[in-house]
């Protein structure tokens, strides 16, 4: 009997040691969990600002009005008192105060001033919970770039890419509660970890230029019945993106209706952009997410490599037929012409496919592929934008004989619009490639602005080659396929592109479907801005006809906005699409 008692005592002691010493902490934690309640304190999300510091997206602190209905002694009276403050009928509030759930949200996202009035009346069982509301100040301006938020934080665009910085750190409040889950009315906060507001980001975007870019692009998308359009304006020296517009048509290929001039438009010259309008913001940032075969703008690869290697100079003469056969495939220029003797500059200005492929054959496969990589195609742009594609570029292993014609004219590799602009920006920047930049600073909650480091650069052309390329690209605008890109008072250098679009899932191109583009910079001497305009399946199809005028419009605004001095001797009248008939203008396909 004694032995049994001793054994029981021993077991009891062992259990006591186990509970009180060995596993005391876990039992304490379990007890605390039973009697306390932790509430997450959301942090205020940082703002997104334009380059001049004006807000583009801000989080405004708001209050949710919460009821602990166990503590509400007179639900009907409380509902009647709260109704005018919350702007909710008392008949709606009263049943909510009868739920016996312990936590009922009576109103969401009320202004803090209203929240203070609710607190001042000291209704028993009625408290406030801090929340916030994301406000976009410029309606849907630059929406594909800014992105949007949902209940979990940044969901797309820069809101998603910089979520870690913008979101801040949430806090935690721990309260003592009764076994039934009711917060004890007089219990002190057992612990309070305050939330820390997120940092803001200051973008390189110029709100006014972004607006004008979107307006010009919207007009082009609407009048040309394109599926979508993209336009980017970049600061040549810094790589800062001043505007980045991505628009889609909400009724592509609708019956043709003449578009009145902007000034006589019923809405006072403003093209409305929205889900219910003819043109809307794109679902994402096509400038970096959408790949396309660039067509003739890709001829930069061939001409830059040939100039660098000393294979050509701007005045080298080539015998150029209007078509040629390679490996059983027939290639031809956009328009039939007799065999001509063209200089390298004329080949580029007239966008001769056959002339370009003759030059490319002198370079060879390896040199072409190397130059594609040198100009940044096939590698990420460095923006780190969500969903960005590095492009699909051919490798030596994938090389086919016909690529010797197709690749130099931009009908093999698939790239994004920003990559094309980067390559031309390097020409504008004296041969130095500069990584594009969209965020120029971070903003502390206290308002301190910390500039981000300058974009990295590297040289891709010698200054001599760059000078020759610039003068050749000037000829494209002054006398070639890009005359509609002329900006009155300034010299412009650039290139048109009209590229065929591959059919999804087939090894063929879609009949009648083209990507029209123009990329260039101005002033041609000491350039300030580089710009690209891309239209998906426009009518008419030519980049020189539909994209170049948009370039001219955007560039003209940018140059005037930043007070860039005019170029002595430059044309003072623009050759707009309306003044230059398509039939009299040289055109390019690819």
């Amino acid at each position: 009997m004694r032995i049994v008692l001793a054994a029981c005592l021993f077991l009891l002691m062992a259990r006591l040691v186990d509970v009180q010493i060995l596993h005391s902490s876990s039992y304490q934690a379990a007890a605390r969990g039973e009697s306390t309640e932790s509430i997450r304190l959301d942090s205020l999300r940082g703002g997104i600002y334009a380059r001049d510091g004006s807000p583009l997206a801000l989080s405004i602190p708001t209050d949710n009005v919460v009821a602990d209905d166990f503590q509400v002694a007179h639900p009907v009276k409380t509902a009647e008192a709260l109704a005018p403050l919350l702007n909710v009928p008392a008949a709606t509030l009263a049943p909510e105060l009868h739920r016996h759930s312990g936590y009922v949200v009576l109103a969401r996202q009320l202004p803090e001033s209203t929240g203070r009035k609710v607190l001042a009346d000291a209704f028993p069982g009625i408290t406030l919970a801090d929340t916030s509301r994301r406000v976009v100040t410029n309606a849907n301006l630059a929406e594909p770039v800014l992105g949007f938020t949902n209940s979990t934080g940044g969901a797309a665009g820069l809101e998603y890419a910089y979520n870690g910085l913008l979101a801040g750190t949430p806090g935690k409040e721990t309260l003592v509660q009764s076994p039934s889950g009711v917060s004890l009315p007089q219990s002190d906060v057992t612990s309070l970890v305050s939330s820390r507001a997120g940092q803001g980001i200051e973008l390189t975007l110029d709100t006014q230029l972004q607006y004008e870019t979107e307006q010009a692009l919207a007009q082009a998308v609407e009048s040309s019945q394109a599926l979508s359009g993209t336009a980017i304006v970049m600061d040549v020296k810094t790589g800062q993106i001043l505007s980045m517009a991505n628009l889609v048509s909400t009724h592509p290929k609708a019956p043709v209706t003449p578009t009145p001039p902007a000034s006589s438009d019923a809405s006072g010259g403003v093209i409305p952009i929205g889900p219910k309008d003819a043109v809307n913001e794109a679902p994402n940032n096509y400038a970096v997410t959408q790949l396309y075969e660039p067509g003739s703008v890709f001829k930069l690869v061939t001409f830059s490599a040939a100039l660098q290697d000393g294979l050509i100079n701007p005045n080298s003469i080539f015998t150029v037929p209007d078509q040629m056969t390679l490996d059983g495939s027939l290639f031809h220029d956009a328009d039939p012409h007799p065999t001509e003797h063209l200089t390298a500059t004329q080949i580029l200005a007239q966008s001769s496919n056959i002339g370009t492929s003759i030059i490319a054959q002198g370079l060879g496969e390896q040199r072409l592929l190397a130059q594609v990589g040198n100009l940044g195609f096939g590698t990420p742009t460095g923006l780190d934008f969500p969903g960005e594609s590095a492009g699909l570029v051919a490798t030596a292993a994938q090389w086919e004989p016909t690529d010797m014609v197709s690749l130099p004219i931009g009908q093999v590799d698939a790239v994004n619009a920003l990559q094309v602009l980067d390559a031309y920006n390097a020409v504008a920047n004296g041969g130095t490639f500069v990584q594009p930049e969209l965020v120029q600073a971070t903003v502390n909650p206290s308002g301190t602005v910390n500039k981000t480091p300058a974009s990295p650069t590297h040289r891709v052309f010698s200054p001599e080659v760059d000078s020759e390329l610039t003068s050749m690209l000037e000829q494209v605008v002054s006398s070639g396929t890009g005359t509609s890109a002329i900006v009155p008072g300034y010299t412009v250098a650039g290139k048109t592109g009209t590229a065929q679009i591959p059919t999804t899932g087939k090894d063929a191109y879609t009949v009648g479907a083209y990507m029209a583009s123009f990329v260039g910079f101005a002033p041609a001497v000491n350039p300030t801005f580089s710009t690209i305009v891309v239209l998906d399946r426009p009518t008419p199809i030519f980049g020189g006809t539909v994209a170049a005028p948009v370039f001219s419009q955007i560039m003209s605004y940018a140059l005037h906005r930043y007070d860039i001095p005019t170029t002595p001797g430059a044309a003072t009248q623009g050759a707009t699409a309306s003044t230059t008939p398509a039939s009299s203008q040289a055109q390019d396909i690819t």
Binding site: L58, V135, A139, Q208, A262, S263, G269, V270, P568
Partner: protein
């Protein structure tokens, strides 16, 4: 001595409590000011929206966008025309009042 020490402690506590109340009041005023600042910032940015400004200018003020931009370009190497000066008339010995001397300068047109 002990009573005096206790009195000092009590007074200290009272001062601290009073300071705390003032701090709370200031904190609340700060919060209200921050809230007002945010609201004003939002209003300003909405007023500065290009869409609103352009819409107001074209819709209410009846302004129109220029479709043709003409920028006369004057080369810095082009010599400017020499100013033509008109000499003042010689003073008449019979007049008692003196007319003010006028100088006419012609400038090239078309420049900005």
């Amino acid at each position: 001595m002990v009573v005096l020490a206790l009195l000092v402690v009590v007074v200290g506590q009272a001062v601290l409590a009073s300071g705390q109340v003032r701090m709370s009041a200031l904190d609340q005023r700060l919060q209200i000011a921050q809230e007002q600042h945010r609201e004003l910032e939002l209003r300003v940015s909405r007023l500065e929206t290009p869409a609103r400004i352009v819409g107001s200018a074209t819709g209410q003020q009846h302004m129109v966008r220029s479709h043709v931009t003409q920028l006369p370009s004057v080369s810095l190497n082009t010599p400017l025309a020499a100013p033509i000066l008109t000499p003042a008339p010689a003073p008449s010995p019979t007049t008692t009042t003196t007319a003010p001397t006028t100088t006419t300068t012609t400038t090239p047109t078309g420049g900005q």
